[in-house]
């Protein structure tokens, strides 16, 4: 089922974040949302994830769906290593060996047992990405997921993301047009208070 967003409005106090925002997000494919800073992309994702409520409007197609998410921040448990951070959100069906294999695929071999506070920004980002991809989800929400990754391994990570999320609904927010092109799918342009 597609996700249908109708006339969604959100404001903080007197400040309008977006107004009458409508969109259709196709099921089982990638939809990229592009907009200038402050247009309310992250707020929209937070509403989709159920972390905030819209002031007006409705969203259909999210009921009872499991969500996997890469937040704008890494949101990792600092004292735990990458494996524990991932198993924290995974179902028991995912084994430690599987987690290790996935971490190796994104270039984290050798550092998977270090507390994440000791990892570099890029390594933490990759951990957050693998965590979302190994979680149980129907809809994958990615808020600037490739931010902080080296250009050299970004393509590899994007490929990995596409492969792992194949057939699932993926909603991507990014400022980078190259990332949007690479990930493919639909594009929604979001401007302050307007949606095209």
């Amino acid at each position: 089922m597609d996700i249908i967003v109708r006339n969604l409005s959100k404001k903080y106090g007197e400040k309008k974040v977006f107004h009458n925002f409508s969109a259709i997000i196709k099921e089982g494919g990638v939809t990229s949302i592009m907009a200038p800073s402050g247009a309310g992309k992250t707020t929209f994702l937070r509403i989709l994830a159920g972390l905030e409520k819209a002031d007006e409007g409705s969203i259909e197609g999210m009921e009872g769906k499991n969500i996997g998410m890469v937040f704008q921040e890494d949101r990792l448990c600092e004292n735990l290593n990458s494996v524990s951070n991932i198993s924290f959100v995974c179902s028991n069906a995912i084994t430690r060996q599987q987690i290790l294999e996935e971490l190796h695929k994104v270039g984290l071999a050798g550092s998977e047992l270090q507390p994440v506070r000791e990892l570099s920004g890029g390594m933490r980002r990759r951990t957050a990405l693998v965590r979302a991809l190994l979680s149980v989800y129907d809809i994958l929400i990615l808020d600037e997921p490739f931010k902080g990754l080296d250009e050299s391994n970004k393509i590899e990570i994007m490929n990995y993301t596409l492969k792992k999320s194949m057939g699932k609904t993926v909603i991507l927010v990014t400022h980078d047009e190259n990332e949007v092109k690479f990930m493919g799918g639909e594009i929604i342009y979001m401007y302050p208070h307007i949606i095209k």
């Binding site: 969500i67 998410m69 937040f71 921040e73 949101r75 448990c77 004292n79 524990s84 924290f88 959100v89």
Partner: protein, 256 residues
């Protein structure tokens, strides 16, 4: 979350050379005064301490005071943590607790001791006083820890539908633990000071406080210092042991 960096921890660590220097100053001062009743030498204190240690009465007194003071401390840890958890979700409970905690913090320990002595026999006075001194420290620190909890991690757990047990183990426990440890460290010193003070005033039979009182009445300065040394050892030793146990427990729980 780290509150004291290794560098800072090193700077606040007690150095053996400094302890030895102060012991030498103490020994010189005692010899200069030359009157044991005014200032006893550290060597004599140590000798007296070993003399006391080989008596059954010493261990009975230690057990008597230890059980009550630490009993009050552990009870306050449990009650304080529970009240802080409830206050973090109920503004009514928090507002209700506010004046109570403020009074507990402001009232002098001597006033508490005398008031409590009217109500209960002196035998268990140290436990009640220890509880009253520790409760506000634990409550305030744990509540602060809960309030400073990383909301972003809780949101993450919410989105991924992580079980409450896992949230408690991996998020709440590790984030509140530094506050819990600070509260424990602060209140362990406090409960021994207040607990023994209560015993000195209430003079329950067979307590360390009674021994201190007798030493004062009969001007037995070496006994007074030896018992004080005992209290310091008990307080510092228990604090160290307690923190090791808590650390290991947390590691075990986090590892599952």
């Amino acid at each position: 979350m780290t509150f004291i960096t290794t560098d800072r921890a090193n700077k606040t660590e007690v150095k053996i050379w400094a302890v030895l220097l102060w012991l030498i100053v103490w020994e010189i001062a005692a010899r200069s005064i030359g009157q044991e009743i005014l200032l006893v030498s550290p060597v004599v204190v140590l000798f007296k301490f070993f003399q006391l240690m080989i008596t059954l009465e010493f261990w009975q007194s230690v057990a008597f005071s230890f059980l009550r003071i630490i009993g009050g401390f552990i009870l306050a840890l449990c009650v304080g943590s529970f009240l802080a958890a409830v206050s973090s979700v109920s503004s009514f409970i928090r507002e209700l607790m506010q004046p109570l905690i403020a009074v507990m913090k402001a009232v002098p320990v001597a006033s508490f001791i005398i008031i409590i002595l009217i109500w209960i026999p002196s035998r268990n006075l140290a436990a009640v006083i220890s509880f009253l001194m520790v409760l506000p420290v634990v409550y305030k620190n744990i509540l602060e820890g809960i309030e400073r909890m990383d909301r972003q991690l809780l949101e993450m757990a919410e989105v991924f539908k992580v079980s409450h047990l896992k949230r408690f183990r991996y998020i709440y426990l590790s984030q509140i633990m530094p506050y819990f440890k600070i509260a424990s460290s602060l209140s362990l010193g406090l409960c021994w000071k207040a607990g023994v003070a209560a015993e000195v005033i209430g003079i329950p039979q067979g307590s360390i406080g009674e021994k201190l009182y007798e030493a004062k009445v009969y001007l037995q300065t070496p006994d007074l210092f030896a018992w004080t040394f005992t209290i310091v050892l008990l307080s510092a030793g228990f604090e160290r042991l307690y923190l090791i146990v808590v650390d290991n427990l947390v590691k075990k729980v986090e590892r599952g």
